[in-house]
């Protein structure tokens, strides 16, 4: 029993447990389904995992070496809050060269601790409690909880395998209300591998304009597209000022552990995000910033090699699932396949759990990614060809036995 100290005229409150001290916003956030599954997987040995949401490449040596050199040179201080000017400039050039979006490094680019911080900053900067935040699903697991933390109301929009998990105007239109404020986009998509083309974006951009929405576009997988080049939502006509482009170095340059990302957008919004950033984290780690600069300056060839390698494995995995008899839409981005396991009659959760226990393969049940995820399994193909081949064999046998029994 913990007793609140009585101060002045305030009424003493009896708190029954430590949980009563917690902010209700935090207390009410559900633990992530991935976490639950992680705990289950951790109890097992000798499994093949397709559950990893990060590249299987180690950061290229020249990038690591740049960070080592920065340490040797004593570059261990704070940088400017928004990130080193040289890095912001490099990001500006890179985005312009690669995706035809034009940002002023001086006040439209903010270097953050991973794309995750950028998403958090953007939502905190924008949300007034009660605002509705529109989120196409299945999607990355953090958007809804972070929205809720700021008092926003997450509104899911279900997308479908038959439509390659694209966001359609009528689906977006159906959830728009006068309280709608922000649309969070994540294409190429984790977990579906779905992408949006210029033509796909056009009607969405029109709706965004008509309904005066602002967009947080998480383009962390932008470099990982196969067959067509990624189209940034910020590059759509009239959308630059309505878009906060979020990206980072994790996926394209195999730099997950460095925690380095960035946000680009209208200077007033970036200034607001910078305000939160400077009070909470000051600046992104300096050695990671030097590494990121090296990656942008000299890492493009290596990046292209990695993308080509993902593409080869993507083809292998998609064909593998189809040969097994599982429907698998063609993922055209990121490094995930999202096959349907509905034909087995099992739920995603039951399938994933039995696959782990009976076949020794870990993959993330689709339902943890929100609406439209049930009936699917997220399989990362960022793992060696040998492991993928073995995993597909095991899944094949497992599904075969399920369908017979």
């Amino acid at each position: 029993m913990i007793k609140e100290k009585s101060q002045g005229t305030s009424i003493p409150v009896q708190r029954q447990s430590m949980a009563d001290y917690l902010s209700p916003l935090v207390r009410d956030i559900k633990p992530s389904g991935i976490r639950r599954f992680f705990d289950l997987v951790s109890t097992r040995k000798d499994i093949i995992t397709l559950g990893v949401g990060e590249p299987d490449f180690v950061t290229p040596w020249h990038v690591r070496e740049a960070a080592v050199y920065s340490l040797e040179s004593g570059k261990t201080q704070y940088t400017s809050n928004a990130g080193m000017p040289a890095l912001r400039e490099a990001i500006g050039h890179y985005l312009n060269d690669s995706f035809s979006v034009d940002y002023d490094p001086a006040n439209e680019v903010l270097v953050t601790v991973g794309g995750s911080e950028a998403i958090d900053l953007a939502l905190r900067a924008l949300i007034t409690p009660g605002d509705e935040i529109l989120i196409p699903e299945p999607c990355y697991i953090s958007y809804s909880p972070i929205t809720a933390l700021s008092g926003g109301k997450p509104v899911g929009i279900e997308t479908f395998a038959a439509d390659n998990f694209k966001l359609r105007a009528e689906q977006l239109q159906a959830v728009i209300t006068p309280r709608s404020k922000v649309l969070i986009l994540c294409y190429p998509s984790n977990p579906t591998g779905g992408i949006m083309t210029y033509e796909d974006w056009l009607p969405i951009a029109k709706l965004v304009e008509e309904n005066d929405l602002i967009v947080i576009s998480d383009e962390i997988y932008a470099e990982l597209t196969y067959g067509s080049k990624h189209v940034s939502f910020a590059a759509m006509p009239g959308m630059k000022d309505r878009t906060i482009l979020v990206s980072g170095f994790s996926k394209a340059f195999a730099m997950t552990g460095w925690r380095l990302g960035y946000a680009c957008g209208h200077e007033e919004i970036i200034a607001a995000m910078l305000k939160i950033h400077q009070y909470t984290v000051m600046c992104a780690p300096v050695m990671a910033q030097y590494a990121a600069l090296e990656a942008l300056q000299h890492g493009m060839e290596e990046k292209d090699r990695m993308v080509e390698s993902y593409n080869q494995r993507r083809r292998l995995v998609v064909k593998g699932f189809r040969d097994i008899g599982l429907d698998c839409h063609e993922p055209q981005g990121a490094f995930y396949a999202f096959p349907s396991i509905a034909s087995t009659g099992l739920s995603s959760e039951a399938f994933a759990q039995r696959l782990l226990e009976e076949a020794g393969v870990a993959a993330v049940p689709g339902d943890v990614f929100g609406l439209g995820g049930e009936g699917h399994l997220r399989c990362s193909y960022a793992t060696s060809v040998t492991q993928l081949t073995e995993a597909l064999d095991r899944i094949g046998n497992f599904v075969h036995q399920l369908k017979q029994g």
Binding site: I34, G51, V52, V58, S142, R315, A362, V385
Partner: protein
């Protein structure tokens, strides 16, 4: 060499046991064309052999390897070719390179013992008329060969499941 052959070659270089079906899937090409590309490269000796990279330091009957710098007087009309052949035909010789710089041939020789390699140098290599001088360097440890790191410290450190 066409583009497909080059791509096939890269995948085989990573793992020679990959079959045509797997490679065809990875490259999104018809199996027949991949088989044809492999056959053509074998025919042309682009693909010379499918061999195994061995870390001999893990094998009990360890081997001794030396790199030998060899200075040579080239032959009129044939340059280094004839003399290089005389050297590389010895089974003890694992590789021979013609080099720019202070010497001419770099010869890799393998033997069971130090003595065996030394005896090869003094009894076989040095007595060749055209050989002016040799410098022998014994290899103490192999860290990396043909792009393959022998003692892999960079294992998979990723969490088993992550978002």
């Amino acid at each position: 060499m066409n583009e497909l052959q080059l791509k096939v070659l890269e995948l085989l270089k990573e793992d020679a046991r990959r079959d045509a079906e797997l490679i065809a899937t990875m490259l999104d090409q018809p199996v027949a064309e991949v088989k044809e590309a492999i056959a053509a490269m074998e025919q042309d000796h682009v693909i010379v052999k499918y061999a195994t990279v061995v870390n001999w330091s893990k094998v009990d009957d360890e081997k001794v390897t030396a790199l030998i710098e060899v200075q040579i007087t080239p032959e009129r009309g044939r340059g280094f070719e004839g003399i290089a052949e005389r050297i590389y035909l010895y089974p003890e010789v694992k590789s021979v390179y013609l080099m720019s710089g202070a010497y001419d041939l770099l010869v890799e020789v393998e033997g069971k013992t130090l003595k065996e390699v030394a005896s090869f140098v003094s009894n076989k290599l040095s007595p060749i008329d055209a050989v002016l001088s040799t410098k022998t360097f014994f290899i103490l440890k192999k860290y990396k060969q043909d792009g393959i790191i022998f003692e892999e410290n960079e294992g998979d450190h990723r969490l088993m499941v992550s978002p």
